[in-house]
Symmetry: C2
Subunit: 142 residues, 2 copies
């Protein structure tokens, strides 16, 4: 669970994440509950990248069954973050390539993700990996 | 399982879905497998709207745990279709409002969906329901 604190710190060390997360030394129980829910669900995978035993990147992968596109399984990538000092080093690309490979192994026909329209650098990154911005991503806060 | 054939026919009766689905009288086993996978997963909900016992609309709802946004659960809506002769009658709105209500009941803090950029009428529909197009939706076919 030490890693969980590092992961939450990564999620918070981001222009958009900064206002949304709570990376205190007393780790908020909301993160522990979410971590437990992810661990319980065989269709959720929380993956970290490490260098010399230190967590330097994180992403979540969800495998989603569905009827559309002839009952195609989708892999969905969420919450991609790379440690500030590691950005531009190829860690993000390696993480995404790994995630796409996992989706293939699980029989997914499609990998999808959404990226905040303010993240223009991320958009070039995903496009270089072959992702196409074919959709509008809608959110409704409850 | 009769309903499954009707649902697949609905998915196919759509300018974009037409080229992707296979709504034959011999229902493709891919749809039966996908239906079984959805039924097995307590975080997946396939919902239909009926009028006089006839299926006139469908959507899939996925409940996704995650660490970001303080461990917030997300509700995700996918594969929304309304029968051609029922479009414009308020069925879609009722289905979406029901789905958002289910997300609230399950403790989600956010509802999300993506919509193909070619579906401009759908975009006005989601925006009228309070959804904001804050994200780019990326897809990678495998």
């Amino acid at each position: 669970m030490d890693d969980l604190g590092t992961i939450v710190a990564l999620l918070a060390d981001d222009p958009i994440g900064r206002g949304r997360e709570n990376p205190g030394t007393q780790l908020d129980t909301c993160y522990r509950d979410a971590f437990a829910a992810i661990e319980r669900d065989p269709n959720q995978l929380l993956a970290v990248a490490e260098r010399s035993g230190r967590v330097i990147g994180v992403l979540q992968l969800s495998f989603i069954p569905g009827l559309t596109r002839r009952g195609m399984w989708r892999g969905q990538i969420e919450g991609v973050r790379v440690a500030a000092e590691e950005r531009g080093s190829g860690v993000g690309r390696a993480m995404l390539e790994w995630a796409v490979g996992e989706c293939r192994k699980r029989g997914c026909g499609l990998v999808q993700l959404t990226s905040d329209k303010r993240r223009s650098a991320a958009h070039s990154f995903y496009e270089a990996l072959g992702f196409e911005a074919t959709h509008q991503g809608y959110k409704l806060s409850l």
